[in-house]
Amino acid sequence: MHSILFDRDDGVNARREEPGFFADLHLDQIVHSLTAGREEYDLAPLFYQPLHDVESVHYRHHVLSDLEQEPLLAAVREFARGMQRARKHLELIESLHHARQRQRWFIETVAVYCDVVRGLRDRLRAPKLRSQGFLMLRDYVSHYVQTDVFTRLLQETREVLNDLAAVRYAIQIKGNRVRVTRYEGEPDMSEEIQAAFERFRQGEVTDYRVKLREWADMNHVEARILDLVAQLYPETFAKLEHYCARNDQYLDPTIGRFDREVQFYLAYLDYIEPLKAKSLEFSHPRVSARSKEVRATATFDLALAAKLASEGEAVVCNDFHLDDPERVLVVSGPNNGGKTTFARTFGQLHYLASLGLPVPGADARLFMPDRIFTHFEREEDIQTLRGKFEDELFRIHEILERATGDSVLILNESFGSTTLRDALAVGTEVVREIIDLDVLCVFVTFVDELSKLGPSTVSMMSMVVPEDPAVRTYKVVRKPADGLAYAAAIAEKYGLTYETLRRRVAR
């Protein structure tokens, strides 16, 4: 069966639980936003399932490139809205009791479905489609619309609806007696009244029609009247009944699947739209399952950017690149300077790339990992420092046991709670092991020395404004670690550098 998400059917395995690293990378927030308002599509599992080969990623890139054409995007949205409307009708039918009401809603559901499918067929014609995904869809829909199944469904639906639209009747109410007859063309009293008083009209007219509450449901008087109307028009209602019995399996499974899966793309495009409007860049990364030379410019933490953008705050972008034999980004520098955010960005980028989605930033080139592992400081209350250190060590050990050379590791402020001496000693060990694994890694630490453990480590630093060290720029740049630079700057600000203090402190 054709899928707009998977180029091969063996790619599908519905995973329901969130991957372990989601929370650390704030991917949980992203997916929460992506799926909000789209609950009916059950999209989360699609976001829990990364792709593992480059062709599958390209399949999605191509689909997305087609979707970037406004006419196609509009067509798909219209299709989705129509399908949604049809689903709403079906939900409503569940809550109705009167058979003739259910029948009418059913035929209207099918009418919507037919319209939507035909609309999709028409609107897929115009755009220049290039992706295999949409080309196949176009072929499928064109063919489907011409099948006997569909043409018969359409014709029958129209006939019955036309008959129903022609039904006109009159109700006479006197006291407790109600009579239902055919309508015989009696004059409209409101028109007569309007005509009589029009001469006094001076200007604009107020609308005094009362908004009377309407329920989808019927009360027994309405139901009774409907039954009498059915007696007035017996053939029309008999046709309707037969129609419903015949057509209960109207929905084509391939169309249904497209309806759900295309939401994966729409959700993401809608999510990044306001960010693009703020001149933040997104691009299709070049992905590779072999080369570990990765890079991106003007990239950012997607979850944070979405939050900042909604609050009208500016988003700080960063660049990174790793050229062979570099593998490990060791990030140091002042706290609250954007180190953690940078680490998350790196992880997010690789995950989003393996979903076949555009990633934050330009000129992105990313590796397709077999798995992603994260180690972030835990919130849990562990009483002793030793307990905490040991817990960290335990988790990192576990990661190193499971990681392969094709994994991506994000280790954030590991050993932050221990002594420099311990952190240096253990950190060096861990980083050496990572180097040996030849695995892509971001390692956030306050231990400068870890960035100088060989040609595969690269140092990056979070930056402050030189004149006012208290101001963070949230820039993380590739430069040699220098823990003293920040200390010197902040000391100068308070007049506590050696020279200043010498002058200030008289003998």
Partner: protein, 507 residues
């Protein structure tokens, strides 16, 4: 049905936008005194007169149209006042009927039926009044108005409307038509006027199907009542709109007649005070006509029991009138009498004069020295310039500008220089300017130019026993009569008169 008593071809717009200078005009020309006399305690008349004065007519023919209606009104004051009362009574009677138009069509319908019943009575009275008095009116406005009432409110019409109101009591039950909408719910319920049906026909009418709501079926009765509400919705809407139409007719009648009642009030008051009024002769905007006999300040006259000074002016062909002369010499009053006469002329009223010929202007503007801002010495010139700048935003060719001691908040040299440039520019733009000033430098510079289109007037003490001050043609004189005033008030002389006193005045 339109009153068309204010304009030959359109309604009087009570909601019309006031010109930008409305506030300044009201203040500078002391319109409130005039308006209060016109209103004589009636807020509506106050509003109408206010609009009429400030939203000037610009077409001499339109002015004549009102003058003729006003002439009729002055001749048949009692009938005009009765028309005003009648419209007022109709509207008060309407207010005695309570009932929401917004919640239930049934309630709305019965409220509207009652209101229309009441209105019908007043419309009959209006028709009777027409029959009794129409022949006494000669103006095109009133002639058309009464003719309209005769045609529109004939006996057939009254019968037709009474018939509708009777039918809407539903003594024979109600008939509505409907269609089937989504979910086979009844829709498009429309109240129908049943065809006249003979007794026999009705007895043997077996078309359709009927049922009866059992006596104990309370929810059935509620449902039936809901259904009736739906059937009544449109007709209740039409009826509520009919009430609005008749209501708005009476409102418009009251508004337009209200203006003339206001004129009657003013005319009667001035007659009591022994003052003459006259209908001015208005000519087209480009004409440069201004000549009056016995022109007085109506606003001032209404606040005192004494006679006020009246003046003659002959300024035909003059685009600039410079008025200089003694303090307390009646210059401001004179300027105001011209401004008031201009506004009163352009709303179709009589003016406070024995005679007046004047060209209409496209817009009247006033730029008066403001006494109230004396606390903020330093900002006074700023404030004056800002106001003049605002005037410049709106003023155009064929407008009239009245300046009263403009730019006197700075020294004479500066003030004259600014004023000279302003006035010259405006004159060249085709604006007519009347300028009251004690700035000799300003006035004399225009005098020296000797342009024929400038008129110089001077306030002077009259000869013994005559009126204290007159405004007569006269060249500007180097000293004003400040010395005199000083002496009169202080009982002593100014010790020495410096040639130039800019700094003293400023401080």
């Amino acid at each position: 049905m339109k009153a068309f008593l204010m304009h030959a071809d359109r309604d009087f717009a009570l909601e019309a936008n006031l010109p930008a200078q409305a506030r300044a005009l009201t203040q500078d020309l002391e319109l409130e005194r005039l308006l209060r006399t016109m209103a004589s305690g009636d807020d509506l008349i106050f509003d109408v007169a206010y609009r009429a004065l400030l939203v000037s007519l610009r077409d001499p023919e339109a002015i004549v149209y009102r003058q003729q209606v006003l002439t009729d009104s002055l001749d048949r004051a009692a009938v005009v006042r009765e028309l005003y009362e009648l419209a007022g009574e109709a509207l008060s009677a309407e207010r005695t009927v309570w009932g929401s138009l917004r919640h239930s069509p049934r309630t709305s319908l019965s409220t509207s039926v009652q209101k229309l019943g009441l209105f019908l009575g007043f419309l009959r009275r209006l028709r009777e009044l027409t029959d009794a008095h129409a022949p006494d009116f000669n103006s095109p406005g009133f002639t058309r108005f009464f003719e309209m009432l005769r045609t529109e409110l004939d006996e057939d019409y009254f019968e037709l409307v009474a018939g509708y109101l009777e039918t809407l009591k539903f003594k024979n039950g109600m008939l509505m038509s409907a269609r089937l909408s989504t979910g086979n719910k009844g829709h498009d319920y429309t109240l129908r006027r049943p065809r006249e049906q003979g007794l026999l026909e009705r007895m043997f009418d077996r078309s359709g199907y009927s049922f009866t709501i059992p006596d104990r079926d309370e929810s059935g009765f509620r449902a039936l009542s809901d259904l009736e509400e739906k059937g009544l919705n449109l007709v209740a809407n039409a009826l509520a709109q009919a009430v609005d139409h008749v209501h708005s007719f009476f409102v418009m009648l009251r508004v337009e007649i209200g203006f003339y009642v206001g004129c009657l009030n003013l005319s009667e008051r001035l007659a009591e005070l022994g003052e003459k009024t006259a209908f001015p002769v208005a000519s087209g905007p480009g004409d440069l006509v201004l000549s009056a006999r016995g022109l007085y300040d109506v606003s001032l006259r209404l606040t005192t029991t004494e006679q006020v000074v009246s003046n003659d002016i002959d300024a035909d062909g003059k685009s600039l009138v410079m008025i200089t002369g003694a303090n307390q010499g009646g210059k401001s009053t004179f300027l105001r009498s011209i401004g008031l006469a201009q506004l009163m002329t352009q709303c179709g009223m009589f003016v406070g004069a024995q005679s007046l010929r004047v060209n209409v202007c496209e817009g009247l503007f006033t730029h008066y020295k403001r006494e109230e801002d004396e606390s903020m010495e330093s900002g006074k010139l700023d404030e004056e310039l800002a106001r003049m700048s605002e005037i410049a935003d709106h003023i155009a060719s064929d407008c009239l500008l009245l300046c009263n001691e403009s730019f006197a908040s700075t020294n004479e040299r500066e003030g004259s220089q600014i004023a000279r440039q302003v006035v010259t520019a405006l004159l060249e733009a085709g604006v007519k300017v009347l300028f009251v000033t004690h700035m000799f430098d300003l006035a004399s510079s225009f005098f020296r130019q000797g342009v024929g289109s400038t008129l110089f007037l001077r306030a002077e003490r009259g000869t013994e026993g005559a009126r204290p001050y007159v405004i007569a043609e006269g060249e500007p004189l180097p000293t004003s009569y400040g010395e005199d005033s000083y002496r009169r008030i202080f009982g002593r002389d100014i010790s020495s008169t410096p040639a130039v006193m800019p700094d003293i005045r400023r401080s």
